[in-house]
């Protein structure tokens, strides 16, 4: 056990925890932010994706020792009012079914759109193939990302 300081959604959390513990469990059980999900524990499904210094890392395999000193953003911190273009597009297209994977899907899509503001279907597949959705909402994910790209561009133009 060690004293570890985590910065999650711009808030400092002082933890007494095993540095080998995956970030996921600190986010869920210690910070109490339950939007980030456990799906597989082995970086296969993407339900646990959070942003760490802007990258869409899988918190289930990211140890606290790596997360310390970095800026972690979870689904709860992605926007103030559920209004990130990706969140808005997700709502407009009604993407989620059971919804369990969508925190991770949205966090992945947000990084895609930051790096590629106008992604093609192929770009979307390349970025999103790491996120499993058992309900099979993939077609809507594709559609919503295109919509989010449009929204983002409109906002940028002012």
């Amino acid at each position: 056990m060690a004293n570890i300081t985590l910065n999650i959604n711009n808030k400092e959390y002082q933890l007494d925890a095993d540095p080998q513990m995956p970030l996921l469990w600190a986010i869920r059980d210690m910070a109490g932010l339950k939007g980030t999900k456990y799906g597989c524990g082995v970086a296969q499904c993407g339900a646990c994706v959070v942003h760490m210094d802007g990258e869409a890392v899988r918190s289930c395999v990211t140890r606290l020792s790596r997360a310390e000193g970095k800026k972690v953003v979870t689904i709860e911190g992605l926007s103030e009012t559920n209004n990130h273009p990706v969140q808005q597009a997700w709502q407009q297209v009604d993407v989620p079914q059971c919804g369990y994977c969508h925190s991770g899907q949205i966090m992945s899509a947000a990084v895609l759109l930051r790096e590629n503001p106008n992604p093609s279907d192929q770009d979307i597949d390349d970025a999103m193939a790491g996120n499993i959705c058992r309900c099979g909402t993939y077609l809507r994910i594709r559609k919503a990302i295109h919509l989010a790209a449009e929204m983002q561009q409109k906002t940028a133009k002012g």
């Binding site: 059980d29 597989c40 296969q44 989620p96 059971c98 790491g130 099979g136 909402t137 809507r140």
Partner: protein, 735 residues
């Protein structure tokens, strides 16, 4: 009446997929509910006017006055509609309010939706399976909304001392037409609750609907985009501990002994206890590690050393299972499920016959949310929270197993991160309850993905031997024998009877036109627990039946679509075929394109699919496009239907071309998505979904889109390549 197998007289579980829930059967039954005695008249109604009172679930939640079990309105006019069924993605959290609000005359976006607790005396069956919620409950739900509305109008008429005919309801208010006065429902509800319930309310015509039939946005989407939707995994209760359980990997085995010395040294570990859980008619055993965090519990579990008792049952491997099924189908006629004419005689003397075997694998539900459950045992009372498909079954099961009065077992549903049939069982809540009792503290049991993937129950693996004779371009004989585990044997079903789902998926109109037909079930068992998996036997039967019909069509020299037309003379199916042809361009296909189609029936809905395939530049077969046509009769939300069919197709693609559960030495081999791979976004072709418009009886929506995928795909591959695929899963890249 079926009886449970070994733990006799325990419980009878009605088959949710076959028993059409009709609350009206309970007419005039006195039942007790939240606020005292209620009289059920085709639905559940609080009949005792004196009991009108404010209902509070917690101090924070003011649901208001109960007008009936589904509808509460508080005095400021806030309407709460209860969902008595589980929301696992299929959209009841939307559909139930959309139906009730239509007749209640309230705006859907102003309605508060709350999951009901388990209580089938109040709500009727709550098992969320068999795509049953809308199809079995919609008439009752319409009546509930309409009756409550009429009560509110009557209360307003009384207040204004006006004739009821001068009053009408709209947008959560009652209006007095002549004077244009209005009152909101909150101002009327206390009086309304005291009124006699009108017996015969007039329901709206479909043309008058403002909500039903419209692609309205889902009510739960916003909370599923910002992380606030509470799944079982996310629920917390005060002083809750966490448990991870090492269960016998051989599914039927027991714990012989265990060494927890290393486990107890892990910081955070509080206790280690042996635990059992009921899996229908048997028990499964394991060792639970209880800790102050999920991670500590998981680490503690890894450090356990358990010696298992694996005696008393066979340790089977997949190859042995299928070899036995194959042998049985070679020699046994099986138990007759359906027979007309005499296919055997025709087959015996036919000069040419088709005799082929189709094979489908065991499958795992793979909900994105692994199993989990919170239990708080408090001596004479037990409370459960979790992602639960059948809260009433959990209540009954735990009550019997743990000897606690049923009404003292309180079962709360959270959102479910997928269900697909798996979360309809009582094993994981029961296990949580036993752990809570053993440690005398509230506990959340979290299954790892590996636990979830290797413990079953699974969709049973199946084999189908199909024999047929074609004469003069027509089917002269049609004989199907199936072998595979019967889910009923795990639940309650009698042995010695054919699998009652032997024809699930097969369209009934075929019975009218195929004169010599037989379907039989060659009984087959293994110690592997099996259970419903989205669309149940239709998901495997459909592959065999609709592939075989395709083979017979080819044998007859007929276009497969025309062949179906010949044999499916039902008017609704003919219209469905028209639509399939129209939207898919079936008749205008190009060279180098393979087209395949299949039509299956599942939970009272019929779905037809057309798949188009071609070859990549590197010669590999790829799916180019999919068209699906759904006829589910009366429906609530076309967007939900589209989503469900899209999702069913994705799940169907996975089961047909990507994954399967295999067993080695009595254990499931693949334990996570690294080897039990899942369909991903780059596996999915464009899908167009069409919904037939009619006012027939409502059919299911969540499952019927799945069964046609596999046969439509393999039929398309045959069309392109001449290669007939009879075994699932197959690798598209290797065709």
């Amino acid at each position: 009446m079926h009886l449970p197998l070994s733990r006799s007289n325990l419980l009878f579980y009605p088959h949710p997929y076959h028993t059409k829930m009709s609350l009206s059967r309970r007419n005039f039954l006195k039942v007790s509910g939240l606020t005292g005695t209620m009289l059920a008249l085709g639905y559940y109604w609080k009949a005792d006017a004196k009991d009108a009172e404010i209902i509070k679930a917690t101090d924070a939640e003011d649901f208001g006055v109960e007008l009936n079990a589904w509808v509460h309105i508080n005095t400021s006019g806030k309407v709460t509609i209860f969902s008595h069924r589980a929301e696992m993605g299929q959209g009841v959290y939307q559909a139930i309010p959309q139906i009730v609000a239509e007749e209640l005359e309230v705006n859907l976006n102003e309605v508060n939706v709350v999951f009901a607790k388990g209580d089938n005396k109040k709500y009727g069956s709550q098992i969320t399976g068999g795509s049953s919620t809308v199809r079995t409950a919609y008439k009752n739900l319409l009546n509930l909304g309409a009756t409550a509305r009429e009560m509110l109008i009557q209360a307003a008429a009384n207040k204004w001392n006006a004739p009821k005919t001068d009053c009408y309801a709209e947008g959560g208010h009652v209006y007095h037409r002549p004077s244009k006065k209005k009152l909101h429902y909150g101002e009327l509800v206390v009086e309304a609750a005291k009124l006699e319930m009108p017996k015969n309310v007039v329901l709206k015509k479909r043309s008058e609907y403002k909500l039903i039939g419209k692609p309205l946005p889902r009510l739960d989407t916003w909370m599923k985009t910002n992380g606030t939707a509470v799944f079982g995994m996310d629920k917390e209760i005060p002083n809750m501990l966490y448990a991870a359980v090492e269960r016998n990997p051989r599914l039927r085995g027991k714990v012989k002994s265990f060494d927890d010395s290393a486990t107890r040294r892990i910081p955070g570990v509080k206790d280690v206890v042996k635990v059992k859980m009921g899996v229908f008619s048997t028990y499964r055993e394991g060792v639970a590690v209880v800790a102050d965090s999920t991670w500590a519990a998981m680490q503690g579990k890894k450090a356990l050393k358990v010696v298992w008792d694996d005696s008393g049952f066979e340790h089977l491997s997949t190859d042995v299972i299928y070899k036995r099924m194959s042998e049985a189908l070679k020699t046994k006629e099986g138990l007759s499920f359906k027979k007309q004419g005499d296919p055997n005689i025709i087959l015996k003397y036919a000069q040419k016959k088709l005799d082929v075997v189709y094979e489908t694998p065991y499958q795992y539900h793979a909900c994105m949310e692994p199993l989990n459950c919170i239990a708080h045992y408090q001596g004479d009372k037990l409370e459960i929270w979790g992602p639960i498909q059948a809260p009433d079954w959990v209540q009954d099961f735990i009550s019997k197993e743990m000897n606690i009065p049923r009404e003292k077992v309180i079962v709360n549903m959270t959102f479910l991160g997928g269900g697909f049939g798996r979360k309809a069982f009582m094993d994981y809540p029961h296990e949580a309850a036993e752990i809570s009792k053993a440690i005398n503290a509230p506990v959340q049991v979290v299954w790892s993905r590996e636990d979830d993937a290797t413990q079953g129950p699974y969709r049973p693996g199946m084999m189908y031997r199909c024999e047929g004779v074609v004469k003069n371009g027509e089917i002269d004989a049609f004989k199907v024998r199936l072998a595979g585990q019967n889910n009923d044997h795990w639940r309650s079903g009698k042995k010695g009877e054919p699998n009652r789902s032997a024809s699930e998926g097969f369209l009934k109109p075929y019975y009218e036109t195929i004169k010599n037909l037989s379907i039989s079930d060659v009984p087959f068992e293994t110690p592997i627990p099996t259970m419903w998996w989205r669309s149940v036997y239709a998901s495997t039967n459909g592959f065999a039946y609709e592939s075989f019909i395709d083979e017979l069509a080819i044998e007859a020299g007929k276009d497969p679509m025309e062949f179906r037309r010949m044999y499916l003379k039902d008017e609704r199916v003919q219209k469905l075929i028209d639509k399939m042809e129209e939207v898919s361009g079936w008749k205008s296909r190009k060279q180098n394109e393979g087209y395949g189609m299949a039509i299956t029936e599942c939970f009272e809905s019929t779905v037809g699919q057309v798949v188009k395939v071609s070859r990549n530049a590197d010669g590999k077969v790829k799916i180019d496009h999919l068209w699906a046509v759904m006829d589910c009769g009366w429906y609530v939300n076309p967007d939900t239907i589209q989503a469900q069919v899209e999702g069913s197709i994705v799940m169907g693609i996975g089961a047909a071309t990507i994954h399967q559960v295999t067993f080695k030495d009595g254990k499931a081999v693949d334990n996570n998505f690294s080897t039990y791979q899942m369909p991903r976004i780059n596996d999915i072709p464009p899908i167009d979904v069409y919904v037939m418009d009619n006012e027939e009886q409502a059919g299911g929506v969540g499952e019927p889109g799945l069964p046609p995928l596999a046969p439509a795909l393999t039929n398309a591959i045959y069309d392109l390549t001449g290669k007939r695929i009879r075994k699932l899963p197959f690798n598209l890249a290797e065709v």
